[in-house]
């Protein structure tokens, strides 16, 4: 492979585990229902304000800041995983 380094990006499996962990620990969520495909509103029964709180929890977990425009697009666990995997500063 070329000299491009992906060292700064996080491992997808690891991100998936952490994202699901964050969602499962959210008070209003039934942990048994959470999968990578879960939609916050239609599958997990959250509203738009809860979704904002979940995104804030992702920001804390991965020490990054998610712009409002980006945050709005995060509606499922998978969206969050994709966003975080593509984010160079996620820790």
């Amino acid at each position: 492979m070329g000299a491009r380094s992906f060292a700064t990006f996080l491992d997808r499996a690891d991100v998936t585990d952490r994202v699901l962990g964050v969602v499962k620990s959210f008070e209003k969520v039934d942990p048994a229902k959470v999968t990578a495909k879960s939609h916050f509103v239609s599958d997990l029964g959250l509203d738009s304000l809860d979704t904002v709180e979940v995104v804030m929890a992702f920001e804390d977990e991965f020490t990054l800041e998610i712009e409002d425009k980006e945050a709005e697009k995060i509606q499922t666990c998978e969206d969050a995983i994709n966003f975080i995997c593509a984010h160079p500063h996620a820790k």
């Binding site: 509203d47 738009s48 304000l49 904002v52 709180e53 804030m56 409002d68 425009k69 945050a71 709005e72």
Partner: protein, 86 residues
Amino acid sequence: MGERTQVLALFKKLMRASRSFTHYNFREYALRRVRLGFREKAGVSDPAQIAELVGEGSKQLEVVRKQALISQLYPQARHVMEGTRK
């Protein structure tokens, strides 16, 4: 910026500011009040009323920020509910 985005952004700012209270009781009250305040008005659809509420929320945001800052200047012992972590 759409109304929805604006309201959600305000919610986020208020949650952030509320979390910065050092005192457990103030912090928990602020978080609870912000969540409740937004849900109380969730059914409002009139743009003029939404604009008015956003203005009101923005004023409250300044109050929360100021009070949270003041609370940081007067640290107190940890509340029993916070346990001994950190």
